[in-house]
């Protein structure tokens, strides 16, 4: 992705303490429109904390977040939604007893008679069918409880929900971790489809070959800081692992404000 373009999302100097633990130590992150950017790092590198902050679920102690060049202040996931940022959580955050249409609209119901909050179920079903078709997902029955769907289909429901509302960025936290080979392929297809709609997809993953196959760019986090950035087409698994473990450092580490240990 061209570095000259204005980043969709740019975070810099993020610091986050949990008690005495320093989870983020001046971390930075950048995402451009219409790209898949992978965020990788070893356990404890601060990935989850960073994603929490960028998706509005947590607040940084210090640092700045810009959306399309403008500084923003988020206090809840709802604020993030307002900026067109959606998150597909690792556990998918679906209500298993509700059907796909209900899950897609949970918290954003359509009403037949708004003053009494009477739901417009046909309209929600219709929109759900459209959303799945848009994503190229073939879900036979949007009125089946999500619990009756396969793991891959559930994942599709969560992705479709994020896609239906995200105008700018989708965070996907380990989307393939719990899936089999075939479902995994389906998810990676989903990710590419979303990117092709001009939305930035931030993929958090442990799986290096997968990262290199689907991502356009890779950002590496280590000990709470961004330590390297790669174009996926030019990077190798060895380089990524080197950056994650500290064998290879390309940026930030020496200039960061706070010191570790």
């Amino acid at each position: 992705m061209p570095d000259s373009a204005i980043p969709l999302l740019e975070a810099s100097g993020l610091v986050k303490h949990y008690g005495s633990v320093l989870a983020l130590d001046g971390a930075s992150f950048t995402a451009y429109p219409g790209e898949v950017v992978a965020l990788i790092g070893d356990n404890g590198a601060g990935k989850s904390t960073l994603v929490k902050i960028l998706s509005g679920a947590g607040r940084p102690d210090k640092g700045q977040i810009l959306v399309e060049g403008k500084p923003i202040n988020m206090t809840s996931p709802l604020d993030a939604r307002g900026y067109g940022i959606e998150t597909v959580y690792q556990d998918l955050a679906l209500a298993p007893d509700l059907d796909a249409a209900a899950n897609l609209h949970l918290g954003r119901e359509l009403y037949w008679f708004r003053p009494l909050h009477i739901l417009n179920k046909p309209a929600m079903r219709k929109r759900a069918v459209e959303a799945f078709a848009d994503l190229g997902v073939n879900l036979k029955d949007v009125t089946a409880p999500v619990i009756t769907l396969s793991g891959g289909q559930r994942q599709s429901v969560a992705v479709a929900r994020a896609v239906a509302y995200a105008s700018k960025i989708i965070f996907m936290d380990e989307p393939t971790a719990a899936l089999g080979v075939v479902q995994r392929k389906r998810v990676l297809e989903n990710i590419r489809r979303v990117r092709d709609r001009g939305i930035a997809v931030v993929l958090i993953s442990h799986n290096m070959p997968e990262v290199l196959s689907v991502a356009d760019r890779v950002e590496v986090l280590r000990l709470g800081r961004r330590v390297a950035r790669f174009q996926a087409s030019e990077a190798t698994v060895e380089q990524l692992v080197g950056a994650m473990t500290g064998a290879l450092t390309t940026e930030d580490a020496e200039e960061a404000g706070e010191t570790t240990k």
Partner: protein, 346 residues
């Protein structure tokens, strides 16, 4: 598109080619009401066959529906609570509290000769007491994070203590005559008022559960509270509303009970919670939350009552009823497990 449907076929395997009819059959087997409605029909058929001309009469129906009315009203609230994966043990005690609050007001405002305005005001006070009591239990559950079982066990004790403190230990006299003759014993077009009110409440709250945002959030919270929270549902506030609703409906049951029996019946309700929870569970609601319907609860309330009425007509010792009800509860929970297995795909 073609690749994605290939993927689908791979994921779904032979299930994708199974007929729509089989899917429908499977779905209705997995639905709670199908089982409970079947049980209901079998009961009616069996007892009608055993006692021809005695069981299936309008008198049996009216009597059963009248004595069941307060239970049905409490079961409506209990359904909402159980759908959130909670439980409300305080229902029979909130009923007594509401009745006592209303009657205390009547005692000092004309007693048996209280006017219509006084009667309405007392009834509203009872309802308000029930709702406030339920709301406080909701605060204990939602804000203090006390497990519902304990929060409502606590509430049960408080409600019982308050009822005895207000009445001084004995049932209050002087239920207004007009209340007894209208709501209690009166009827409209041949149907007793208590039946009309309990059925109407079931219908209204059944519609709310099935067709409004309130109902949808209730299911969502019982199904996955974190997911609900993350999409912006105010889970705590909703839980407080649900427990307040259960209290309000117990209050309504309390006023109906006061009118029907013309007494506060303080000591008659220690097992109402068991009856009500059994009814909701028989009706197909899952104790794990997220699953159940008002129609199921409606039928579920009547199954133990039908059993009782049928056994009674057959002259079977009435204490068998408790044993049979207990066994039916066990069967209902077992069926819930079976349904769970049917729904989760292998």
């Amino acid at each position: 598109m073609s690749t994605s449907s290939d993927v689908d076929r791979l994921i779904e395997g032979p299930a994708a080619t199974a007929g729509r009819g089989r899917l429908l059959a499977r779905r209705s087997l997995a639905a709670g009401e199908t089982w409970v409605f079947g049980a209901f029909i079998i009961l009616v058929v069996v007892f009608t066959a055993l006692s021809p001309g005695k069981f299936l009469t309008s008198t049996t129906f009216n009597l059963t529906a009248q004595t069941t009315a307060p239970f049905l009203v409490m079961a409506i609230g209990e359904t909402f609570v159980i759908l959130t994966a909670g439980i409300d043990l305080s229902v029979g005690f909130a009923l007594v509290l509401a009745g006592v609050v209303a009657d205390k007001f009547y005692v000092s405002n004309g007693g048996p000769n209280a006017g219509v305005g006084t009667i309405w005001l007392g009834a509203l006070l009872g309802l308000a007491a029930g709702a406030a009591f339920g709301g406080l239990q909701g605060v204990a559950v939602a804000k203090l994070k006390i497990p519902p079982l304990i929060a409502t066990l606590m509430g049960l004790g408080v409600a019982e203590g308050l009822s005895y403190l207000i009445t001084g230990g004995a049932d209050l006299p002087s239920v207004p005559n007009k209340l007894v003759s209208s709501l209690g014993q009166g009827s409209f077009a041949g149907v007793p008022w208590v039946i009309i009110i309990s059925f109407l409440a079931t219908l209204i709250f059944g519609l709310i559960l099935a067709f409004t945002r309130f109902g949808r959030y209730t299911y969502a919270i019982g199904s996955n509270p974190e997911a609900a929270e993350r999409v912006g549902v105010n889970v705590d506030r909703h839980l407080i509303k649900v427990y307040a609703l259960a209290g309000l409906l117990s209050g309504l049951a309390g006023i109906m009970n006061l009118a029907y029996y013309s007494s506060t019946t303080i000591s008659d309700h220690p097992l109402d919670n068991l009856t009500v929870i059994t009814a909701v569970v028989i009706g197909g609601a899952s104790l794990f939350g997220g699953r159940g319907t008002m129609l199921g609860t409606f039928i579920g309330v009547f199954i133990p009552e039908l059993l009782a009425a049928g056994l009674n007509i057959k002259g079977v010792n009435q204490y068998w009823q408790y044993i049979v009800t207990g066994l039916v509860l066990g069967a209902a929970v077992y069926l819930d497990q079976v349904r769970r297995r049917l729904r989760e795909r292998g």
